[in-house]
């Protein structure tokens, strides 16, 4: 019991006599491990086997005639040893049972096998006495009785060996006497046995009572609450000491046999139960530093509890009331938090305030300081720490520049006098920059608690350098102003209006080119300097300013004595009396002649530009970002027929052709972002209603966000061009005529030949149906050939520019085109290869125009390959989802890079005079662009390759544009 309290160590149950020995029920109880238990059980079993099984076996051996004496002795000794072991293990009943059986069996064996000779009595006597002796012994100990009991049979045996049986038979009386003796021996042994047990019981009983008393007194006198619960019985309380009774206000007789749930609020009981179960399951003691419990009288307590498992069944709990401790802890913690908070506040204030704070000890050394102090003094923490007021490095001075004596430093004075010092101004040298800094210091002495002597001084100071310098500045300002006005040649004047006294500074005389002697200080003197007519204007200005009680801001011309004219600008503050009459004017004058000159130059330049604007034959306009006319020139007004007033209300979008509006809007957007001049062609509505085609150059002004436009009416030009295109086509037709003549004359020759043959045959009566049929078929075929050619020609020759866009078969277009030139190609040994054309491939186009372009490209290719060894032209198709590319590739020499730029230009040709107009490609390009496509020379292609890229479907806007 020595260490029950407060520790997890618990006495071993087999260690001496204690309360727990009550629960020891068998010899196995003390076995600590499974191995030991196993060994003990095995031993018990062996004893049983030897006593009940082995011995009868020995009897059989005896009947088989083995040496009797030796075997009996051996078995007897073995059995005795085993019984002894069983006894040692506490299997007293078993040991005794074995002994009884063995001795009786031995008696029987000797009786029946040896015919019970007299000398055998030596052996019988110990055998009969032994059980009684063994019973006599203490069941829990091997004592003297046991020793004698075991040694007696051995002694009997020895006697038998020394005096072997002499053959004298026992009489029936002796046998009966022996049996009686045997029974008596057993009865006596049982009596001894009972007595021995009673003795043992009494001894145990006493021990228990003593232990109980001891334990109870210990438990009841514990200053801690102690309780025990039985986990096998719903954690009912089995123990509840006195302290627990008082602490929880619950008497033990009430609580024993009950659970936590019978007394405590459910949440507390649940908590206890959880902990209990955890302790039992883990089979390990647990410390609960703090738990809440509501005692019997409703008082809330805080406990510190140790819970210990015992034998995996019982739970011992020892609780200490920590309510008071906890309460005092709470108060302390709250106090600590308050102190910390205050400290933090002060620290924040200390570190963030603009004023510098230093704490000086009695020797004047700085022992504490805040960041502001470091900043103001320009010192690092290391530099300021320990520095004294007497340190010469401060280089402290008074406001008047005299040296600040160390003992006069406010901190030192506060330390010395014990009185606070306020607003001492001191100049110190900032250590890091060497600049002079001015600080205003308040110093306060600090007394030790309960002491009269000053222990420390607290100096609080702020930087007043700037305030001081501002004060100094204002003194210098007027001086500076004077310099500035002189430097800028600004004259200052002061005119007392009522007294008519005009005061000028020196600069004024300079401005007016006058000598002081010529100026008498009256307005009239000034007036004399004005250029003719200026005084009247100035008077009018004055009248206006005074009438609205405003300030003066005006310009006038001055005729200088040297004859030159200057422009003077005047700005003045006007002061009025209570009646609103002007009292005084204070102002400045300066020469603005140069500015006027520049303005004149600008005006002149502007006039020139304006003239150009007016005389330009091209249309010029400035429009704002929304397209409204800000300015327009007569050419524009004439071309479009609007007056300037009408144009001012117009936006370009109002007069633009609806079909051009979208693209124009986009162009405008583009122009506004671009820095370059952009060209665009739009149709604008003439006032009369007709549309004019205008080609514009447009540029954007980033300053004003305006757009500058220069335009030319190209309506007639375009008409001319269109005519030219038709002419070119006709010329191209001429070029083709040779080919076409050949194309048509050949079939015509066949037709004519056939006709003559038929006629001739008819003449000679040689006509038969077969011949006629043969000729007729050929005539029909030939006529169809001619028809195809004519159709191709029609397709080509007509002006397709007004045709509607229709979905057309690409194969058909290409066939129509080839009809016109295939023969020509083959006759000149030009191999014409045609890509596979999907039969259903269609594009939205004007078919005759596309045929025209294709024909043009094929003709160009034809010309290019003529005269070359390798002569071929290929038409290739590149079919994508939304576009179709038709490539015309030939084996020609290719286009020289320098020419590739020009080939699309109108009237550019490489052909000899008369062979080409130079319009073909430019027209072709125009056509393809009208189809929202692109005609280009593929410069990366190894041969000459022209690509026609066409959208398969046209957008509605494209369809409309002619």
């Amino acid at each position: 019991m020595k260490s029950v309290l407060g520790t997890a160590d618990f006495p071993d149950p087999k260690d001496g006599k204690n309360i727990f020995s009550l629960w020891r029920s068998s010899g196995l109880a003390h076995c600590q491990s499974d191995v030991e238990k196993f060994v003990a059980q095995t031993t018990n079993l062996l004893v049983l086997l030897l006593g009940m099984v082995l011995v009868p076996h020995i009897l059989f051996y005896l009947f088989l005639g083995l040496s009797l004496s030796a075997l009996i002795c051996t078995s007897f000794l073995g059995v005795g040893l085993l019984i002894f072991l069983a006894n040692r293990r506490g299997h007293f009943y078993l040991a005794r049972m074995g002994l009884l059986v063995t001795t009786n069996l031995c008696i029987l064996i000797f009786s029946y096998l040896h015919g019970l000779e007299v000398r055998t009595h030596w052996l019988f006597i110990p055998m009969l006495v032994t059980p009684s002796l063994l019973f006599w012994g203490n069941p829990s100990r091997f004592d003297k009785a046991h020793a004698i009991g075991f040694s007696l049979p051995i002694a009997g045996l020895i006697l038998v060996l020394i005096y072997p049986p002499d053959g004298t038979q026992l009489t029936p009386g002796m046998t009966s006497g022996l049996q009686v003796l045997n029974v008596i021996s057993l009865i006596v042994g049982s009596l001894f046995q009972q007595q021995a047990f009673r003795r043992l019981y009494q001894e145990n009983q006493r021990t228990i009572v003593e232990s109980r008393q001891l334990l109870t007194s210990i438990l009841d006198n514990l200053p801690l609450s102690l309780f025990a619960k039985d986990s096998w019985d719903s954690y009912r309380f089995v123990l509840w000491n006195k302290k627990a009774e008082t602490q929880f206000q619950l008497p033990a007789d009430k609580i024993i046999g009950k659970t936590d749930f019978d007394f405590f609020p459910p949440e507390e009981a649940n908590f206890f139960r959880q902990k209990d179960e955890a302790v039992i399951h883990a089979n390990h003691a647990q410390h609960i530093p703090e738990e809440k419990v509501t005692s019997g009288n409703g008082e809330v307590q805080y406990l510190r509890t140790q819970k210990v498992p015992v034998h995996g069944r019982y739970l011992i709990g020892i609780s200490e009331n920590i309510t008071d401790l906890k309460k005092s802890n709470d108060v302390r913690e709250a106090l600590q938090a308050e102190i910390t908070r205050k400290h933090l506040e002060l620290k924040t204030l200390f570190e963030n305030m603009h004023e510098g704070i230093v704490l000086q000890n009695r020797a004047g050394e700085i022992i504490q300081f805040n960041p502001a102090a470091l900043k103001i003094l320009g010192l690092s923490a290391d530099e300021i720490q320990g520095r004294t007021s007497t340190d010469s490095r401060w280089k402290a001075i008074h406001e008047d520049g005299s040296v600040y004596l160390p003992e006069d430093h406010p901190g030192m004075r506060a330390l010395r006098t014990g009185r606070p010092i306020a607003n001492a101004i001191m100049g110190v040298v900032e250590h890091s920059t060497g600049h002079r800094k001015w600080i205003s210091i308040n110093a306060t002495p600090i007394f030790e608690p309960g002491q009269q002597e000053v222990s420390q001084a607290l100096a609080i100071f702020r930087d007043v350098t700037e305030e001081r310098s501002l004060a100094c500045e204002s003194e210098k300002t007027s001086e500076r102003l004077q310099f500035v006005t002189q430097a800028l040649k600004i004259g200052i004047w002061d005119w007392d209006f009522k007294k008519n006294v005009l005061v000028w500074d020196d600069a004024m005389y300079e401005l007016y080119g006058m000598r002081k002697a010529d100026f008498n200080g009256a307005y009239e003197s000034f007036q004399a300097a004005l250029a003719p007519g200026e005084n009247e204007k100035l008077q009018a200005t004055f009248a206006d300013v005074f009438s609205r009680r405003g300030n003066l801001s005006t310009e006038f011309r001055v005729r200088k004595p040297d004859g030159s004219t200057s422009f003077i600008h005047a700005e003045a503050l006007c002061f009025y009396d209570s009646a609103g009459k002007p009292e005084r004017l204070v102002g400045a004058n300066w020469d603005v002649t140069d500015i006027h000159k520049k303005d004149e130059e600008i005006l002149k330049a502007f006039g020139e530009v304006q003239n150009f604007f007016s005389v330009s034959a091209d249309m010029l306009a400035i429009i704002d970002h929304s397209g409204h006319f800000k300015k327009s020139n007569p050419a524009l007004e004439k071309t479009l027929g609007y007056s300037p007033q009408e144009l001012a209300d117009l936006a370009l979008s109002d007069i633009i052709h609806p079909d051009d509006a979208v693209s124009f809007g986009i162009s405008l957007h583009y122009i506004a972002k671009s820095t370059q001049t952009t060209k665009l062609v739009v149709r604008l509505k003439h006032r009369g209603g007709a549309y004019r085609l205008i080609s514009w150059s447009a540029a954007h002004s980033p300053q004003t966000q305006d757009i500058f436009l220069g335009g030319r009416d190209i309506t007639e030009e375009r008409d001319q061009e269109l005519k030219l295109i038709q002419a070119s086509k006709m010329s191209s037709l001429g070029e083709m005529s040779a080919g076409i003549a050949h194309e048509i004359n050949n079939p015509l020759a066949i037709l004519s030949g056939k006709a003559q043959q038929i006629a001739s045959a008819a003449d000679r009566n040689l006509l038969n149906p077969a011949t006629i049929k043969k000729h007729a078929v050929q005539i029909q075929e030939t006529a169809e050939r001619i028809a195809t050619i004519i159709k191709g020609l029609r397709t080509f020759a007509r002006d397709g520019s007004q045709d509607p866009f229709v979905l057309s078969s690409v194969a058909q277009i290409i066939q129509d085109t080839l009809a016109l030139c295939a023969t020509r190609f083959s006759h000149h040994d030009v191999t014409l290869t045609l890509a596979d054309i999907p039969p259903r491939l269609e594009i939205d186009c004007r078919p005759s125009q596309i045929a025209q372009v294709l024909h043009n490209l094929l003709n160009n290719s034809f010309d290019a390959v003529m005269g070359r060894d390798e002569k071929w032209v290929r038409i290739e198709l590149l079919n994508s989802e939304s576009t179709l590319r038709i490539d015309v590739v030939d084996s020609g020499p290719g286009i020289k890079p320098e020419l590739s730029e020009k080939i699309m230009q109108p009237f550019f040709t490489t052909k000899e005079d008369g062979k080409g107009t130079g319009l073909g490609l430019s027209i072709a390009q125009g056509i393809i662009e009208n189809h929202a496509g692109r005609l280009s020379l593929n410069r990366t292609h190894p041969h000459t390759c022209f690509s026609i890229l066409l959208p398969k479907r046209q957008r509605p806007s494209t369809r409309k544009v002619a």
Partner: protein, 125 residues
């Protein structure tokens, strides 16, 4: 009545219809007819066979009739060459100067052509 018996005439034209017409005509009159679709073919036939007269188109793929005429003249064989053309950059006088015995433009009068051939063949005799 014309009789082309024993004559071997070469017709060179890329138009099958034209060749057919002349083949019919010449064969009716007892002549043997060879056909060529271009000048080169025609020249090969001239080199391998005895030809009495050549009737050739001018524009043909693979060697035109004018070249053929020049080649025939080069061979120094006395083969008369008659040229036909639907359209040509050549003037008839130039072709005659080059050695063509006669030039016809398409469409032609078949009878006139046959008459001319007959006369030329007669002269050959």
């Amino acid at each position: 009545m014309k009789n082309f018996q024993g004559k071997h005439i070469l017709v060179a034209d890329d138009e099958e219809g034209i060749r057919d017409i002349f083949k019919d005509e010449f064969e009716q009159l007892g002549a043997q007819v060879s056909e060529a679709t271009n000048g080169i073919e025609a020249l090969q036939i001239i080199h391998t066979k005895h030809i009495d007269l050549v009737l050739s188109d001018i524009r043909m793929p693979g060697g035109d009739g004018v070249k053929l005429l020049a080649e025939i003249i080069k061979t120094k064989k006395p083969i008369p060459v008659i040229l036909m053309t639907g359209f040509s950059d050549w003037k008839i006088e130039e072709l005659l100067k080059m050695g063509a015995r006669s030039v016809f433009t398409k469409p032609f009068n078949l009878e006139a052509v046959m008459e001319k051939i007959d006369r030329i063949l007669e002269e050959q005799k």
